[in-house]
Symmetry: C2
Subunit: 384 residues, 2 copies
């Protein structure tokens, strides 16, 4: 969009371009940069976060900058980032408005308690990255570092969206229905959830499903151990009632474990403990299945098919269930786009996380949650 | 064992057998029956429980009686059971000590609140089946009916084993390591669990893994959202400490969702909410995978292999992940062997549930939990 607009401006003035005074040329160049800057997504990457940081993080970011047309801000130790860029033969690509290095000092380690570590290290990469969003120098943050620290930093630096008590991490999984996916939230931000929180997750999930996943009429489910409204623990029963009563949530009922990938639900809400276990289990199941199936196929097909051909099919399958393809989870409910990736993320995963960030920005997810909550509040007032 | 013992007795006296007085012959026949009766498993089947009751339940029970050498007590409406037996052409197999019908009136329906329904229907099939165990007329109960009702009936009629506050349902899943499986408990009996309960689950799981699954040194894990002891909610952190401190539990640490099927754990404890979601998800994943893989294989292999051959391989795979193969969950902690099967159980599932019951009886799981707790209590006293 932005590129076209600026090209159109340049074309419009091309007739007298060669005769134009310098200030006009300068103005047009400024105009082009400004118009691009205002709509092209600028993503701050926590280059020090994750098991394979910064090398794999930088590699994924480079690919995203090239293929997705986003601007990348690599936040971290400049020396280490430059080393990684050199390894990728990409040190020459650092330029303002394309790929920049933003210096930070240290990172929150996996064993550290998030809040105290964030306080102790104000210039840690995740803090600096969040500040970039706060100061509107970036539109989103992607981090494969300590997920608790990423969430805490987002809460501290960006704050919550109005009407949201707790942010949730949403993860998208494929379903049995080709082309359809299911958004699960929360998958790890909140280990204990009050019914009210789950109701807010359902609301945010509805909007995300509509705006980013393109589901016109999303079907929302509550993860539970039975279909009946009376099933589950006290929190589940009370949440069920809240979801039934909320006119803004297209709630279709409880979803059991077996329903998660059925395609009958577009969004499933649960607390972060169950969601995290489920997500990690789902990701690992892909590998288990490939393993078991290789044995079964090898036995059953009596070597009728060549190993590379089988490998290729299994690869296609793995792509559909593998977490690398999903890149990470969107932290919904904070006042900024934040993608939390796996600690084990490699370049492909980081690339997909950046794509996810871009989609959230392009589809104005935050603005929609904000206005939806505003709408809900007005409706609530009208009722009272 | 019992057959051999009685055969040995018969052989011993064979020399004077033909000259022996009638009363001696009668005594020997009695001895043979008694010795068989005392060790041959007698299983009470809730013939009215489950979506496909009684037809599929009866079919599974018939197969088990034939192939496993167990005695079957079919508990339910005699008319309906006889109809099912006739359909199977097996009405002639009803005989004392092999296959019996025990009359009951009604069953607890899926939508009913267990406790009040059990009270309102004292002669419901699940109540009658539990009474058979209580009166030592049966060694075990298998039910595919309302699982909450089965647990409540077991608690009310049989009571808990000493030292156990809450019974747990254990389910066995295959792992990535060929031939090794993982026991998950609880998978649905308790939606809320105190740390103390989870500690008891771990103890019961240890014994079950050793005695029934034949794992000499089982590795016990706590389902959690991270490896570190500090991860998870308050209950998880406190449970972690209890498991570390208990010398009778070979605790190896937290198990994340991705570790469940890794083969690194023989037993994983969790509350019944998470466990139930996980189990049902795992079962469904088998089907999802088969579906996705069919598409991928069809595309990738460009019809190089025949459909029946592919079908055969996928069947082998399905068997390893399908719930039908596992039959159901063992209700651990009540003073009787109770297998809780899926409501959707068909004959194959019921058959496997009966096999599971037989294994628990043959391996004296209850006695071992009882004596282990007795041992723990003594050790505890010695410490105090």
């Amino acid at each position: 969009m932005s590129d076209r607009r600026s090209e159109w401006i340049l074309v419009l003035y091309s007739d007298f371009w060669i005769h134009a005074p310098d200030f006009l040329v300068e103005f047009l160049v400024f105009l082009k940069h400004w118009s691009m800057g205002s709509t092209r997504a600028r993503i701050a990457i926590d280059a020090m976060g994750g098991d394979h940081a910064p090398a794999e993080v930088v590699a994924g970011a480079l690919k995203a900058q090239e293929e997705l047309g986003v601007e990348i801000l690599l936040v971290g130790d400049p020396q280490q980032i430059e080393d990684s860029l050199r390894q990728q033969d990409a040190i020459g690509r650092v330029s303002k408005g394309q790929l920049e290095i933003v210096p930070s000092e240290g990172a929150v380690e996996m064993h550290e308690e998030p809040l105290s570590a964030l306080k102790r290290k104000p210039n840690a990469s995740i803090n600096v990255a969040m500040n970039l969003v706060k100061q509107q120098q970036a539109d989103a943050v992607v981090s494969a570092g300590h997920s608790g620290a990423a969430m805490a930093a987002a809460l501290l630096r960006l704050g919550r969206l109005p009407g949201i008590d707790r942010p949730a991490i949403g993860a998208v999984l494929p379903t049995m229905v080709p082309g359809s996916s299911v958004l699960i939230l929360d998958v790890g931000a909140n280990v204990d959830c009050r019914p009210k929180f789950l109701e807010q997750f359902a609301l945010m999930g509805t909007i995300y499903s509509q705006c980013v996943l393109g589901v016109a009429e999303p079907k929302i489910g509550l993860l539970n151990i039975g279909e009946e409204p009376s099933k589950g623990n006290d929190a589940a029963v009370r949440t069920h009632q809240l979801l039934v009563d909320n006119p803004n949530i297209p709630f279709v009922g409880n979803a059991e474990g077996r329903d998660v990938l059925s395609g009958n639900f577009d969004v499933i809400v649960c607390d972060g403990f169950v969601g995290n276990v489920l997500l990690k289990f789902a990701e690992a199941v892909g590998e288990v299945v490939v393993q078991v199936l290789k044995e079964e196929l090898a036995a059953g097909l009596k070597n009728q098919i060549s190993a590379p051909l089988l490998q290729e099919s299994l690869k296609g399958f793995k792509q559909r269930v593998d977490h690398v393809e999903h890149g990470g989870g969107l932290l919904l409910g904070v006042a900024g786009v934040c993608i939390i990736s796996h600690g084990s993320s490699q370049a492909a995963s980081i690339f997909n996380a950046i794509r996810l960030a871009k989609e959230a920005i392009d589809n104005q997810v935050l603005e929609r949650i904000r206005s939806s909550n505003h709408q809900s509040a007005l409706e609530q007032e009208a009722v009272n």
